[in-house]
């Protein structure tokens, strides 16, 4: 298993560079990387006890793999595979596939490591690869969005580095466990870096613009897999150190409500999805021990939704309401929306039930409110008008036919995954568990019909400006410091 793990970590990077030597094999190699990760994740689920690897000495690289990692790795693999299949017939160059594979590898590495320096390296490689993918179309706008992302994440990682050395000072190693002996400022600095990378709470305000302005396959990759690289280390710290657990749970509830508050009022499809990602990360952190399943469900749904949003005729909900969409696309959209609202028979239901069961009493009200907000925001998608378009019209909407095959294969993988993943936690099906989400969805739809669908409130975007993003870091640093002291 040790050798297998090492091969699994290095393979995407190796293959990513080999792609340049054999440009003709780009798609196949990239897909192989994703499939290999999926196979490895399946191996992880069969492990009886967590696998820990310590390379070099006590200050060397430390890897920790268990079934929680397995869920995250599987998410990453499925999302990457779907994105590559989606792009299969497009005119993207070898460079795109190589970067996708390197991004995939760096997310894998970040998920596997259990020491702060390996995590730092993985997260920085991830930012570079993500920047290159965001800036792939080379227009001024995406370059600015990419630069902004790279800037924000690099500044956050500088603070993180200071925190990492404070841990080393106290514990003489960079292991996650060392956080216990480290002073509170170390915890504040490290968590600030991870909160920014993971896009959590106010530190996550860089995320909506970045995810909505990228091309839809890149947004799918970012929202489905990349942000989770910052979230798993946080969940891992909460599981390893019980004194950190309350802090993570507070941030879980906070970010779930914060993200959904913006999502409910948002009038742009991709921005709504991006804000909703922020809120779903909160669900993962609210109950860290079962976050893996939630991450898998969310990754599948969100990447499917971003890919669908890319083929819709408009990004504005108002315009979409006057422009019926092709029925098959609407069906895929509705299935994904139902899953994320927690409708039974789809994996979102099991994930929500499992998370709700593992909440602490003080979290329950907040998380139920967030679930209600999710139902309201996704009513916007479910109630879009749809009709069976004629052949000519349909060809126009799914702009050209070569992409169509890839789109539907990717949808099959992601939406099919939702049905299969539903079987993981079949204990959820009890009367009480089934009635509650249905009631939540019903109330959410009523609220949408009578209140939220009718009002138009435009929330200010001031806090998404670059300088505010950097400034907010110092504020969250102070907040975290006091939380760590308390």
């Amino acid at each position: 298993m040790t050798t297998l793990t090492l091969i699994w970590v290095t393979f995407p990077f190796l293959a990513g560079f080999i792609i340049y030597l054999f440009p003709r094999l780009d798609r196949s190699l990239a897909l192989t990387g994703a499939v290999a990760s999926a196979a490895f994740a399946a191996q992880l689920f069969t492990l009886r006890s967590p696998l820990t690897l310590r390379l070099l000495d006590h200050f060397g690289v430390n890897l920790l793999l268990d079934s929680l990692t397995g869920f995250f790795v599987l998410t990453n693999a499925l999302v990457t595979a779907a994105v590559i299949i989606y792009c299969w017939r497009s005119s993207r160059t070898t460079f795109f596939y190589a970067q996708t594979l390197i991004l995939h590898g760096s997310v894998n590495a970040a998920l596997a490591c259990a020491d702060f320096i390996s995590l730092y390296v993985a997260l920085e490689v991830l930012s570079i690869a993500a920047f290159l993918l965001i800036a792939y179309p080379r227009s001024d706008r995406v370059i600015w969005v990419g630069l902004r992302y790279l800037f924000v994440s690099n500044v956050a990682m500088l603070f993180y580095l200071v925190g990492a050395v404070l841990v080393y000072k106290a514990h003489h190693s960079f292991d996650f466990i060392g956080l216990r002996e480290a002073p509170p400022e170390a915890l504040a600095l490290i968590f600030m870096g991870l909160l920014v990378k993971g896009g959590i709470f106010v530190s996550g305000l860089w995320l909506p613009l970045t995810h909505s302005e990228s091309e839809s396959p890149v947004s799918a990759l970012m929202s489905g897999a990349v942000v989770k690289a910052g979230v798993l280390p946080l969940a891992r710290c909460a599981l390893l150190l019980e004194e950190v657990d309350p802090i993570i749970r507070v941030f879980g509830v906070g970010t779930a409500l914060f993200g959904v508050f913006y999502a409910v009022f948002e009038k742009d499809t991709k921005r709504m999805l991006a804000f909703h990602t922020v809120s779903q990360l909160g669900f993962i952190l609210a109950a860290p021990e079962v976050g893996g399943f939630y991450a898998l469900t969310h990754g599948l749904v969100k990447s499917a939704l971003f890919l669908i949003a890319g083929v819709l005729p408009s990004r504005n909900f108002k315009e979409l309401q006057n422009q019926p969409i092709h029925t098959p696309i609407w069906i895929a959209l509705a299935i994904a929306s139902f899953s994320i609202s927690g409708f039974p028979l789809l994996s979102g239901f099991g994930a929500k039930v499992l998370t709700m069961k593992n909440l602490l009493p003080w979290q329950v009200v907040g998380m139920n409110l967030a679930a209600l907000g999710t139902a309201i925001s996704f009513a916007k998608f479910i109630f879009l008008p749809h009709k069976n378009l004629g052949k000519a019209e349909a060809a126009q909407t799914l702009h050209n036919s070569p992409l169509k095959v890839g789109f539907w294969t990717a949808m099959g993988l992601l939406v099919g995954g939702l049905f299969v993943a539903n079987l993981i936690y079949y204990d959820a099906y009890s009367l009480e568990n089934v009635v509650k989400p249905l009631a939540t969805i019903a109330i959410g739809w009523l609220l949408y019909w009578f209140i939220f669908g009718r009002i138009a409130i435009k929330l200010p975007r001031m806090f998404e400006q670059f300088e505010h993003l950097i400034g907010v870091m110092s504020l969250s640093l102070i907040l975290l410091f006091w939380m760590a002291l308390a």
């Binding site: 730092y120 390296v121 001024d140 600015w144 790279l150 500088l158 050395v165 670059f466 110092s474």
Partner: protein, 111 residues
Amino acid sequence: MLEAFVFLTILLGFFGIIFKKNLIMKIISMDVMSTGVIAYYVVVAAREGVFTPILAGDPKGAYADPVPQAVILTAIVIGFSIQALMLVGVMKLAQDNPTLETNEIERSNTP
């Protein structure tokens, strides 16, 4: 004392990122900040001694800790490559925004 100056460097870099208007200046401020972080690693490494840790014969004094120095080498390389990447992006942006004022770029590139 040394530690205080190191933290001052980090803070100055951080404030530079916020208050400088020009994109290039912001990137240079980020470099100042990362210099501060690197210096902090060196300070931590030299906490107990400054001699190179090569075991040969009798030690002449207390050894410096090699681990933080080795680790920060990776961070230096990463920081420098990110900066190079950013500057390439800035070159591209400069064609349409010759003043490189962040507010202007942001205004014209946010929907």
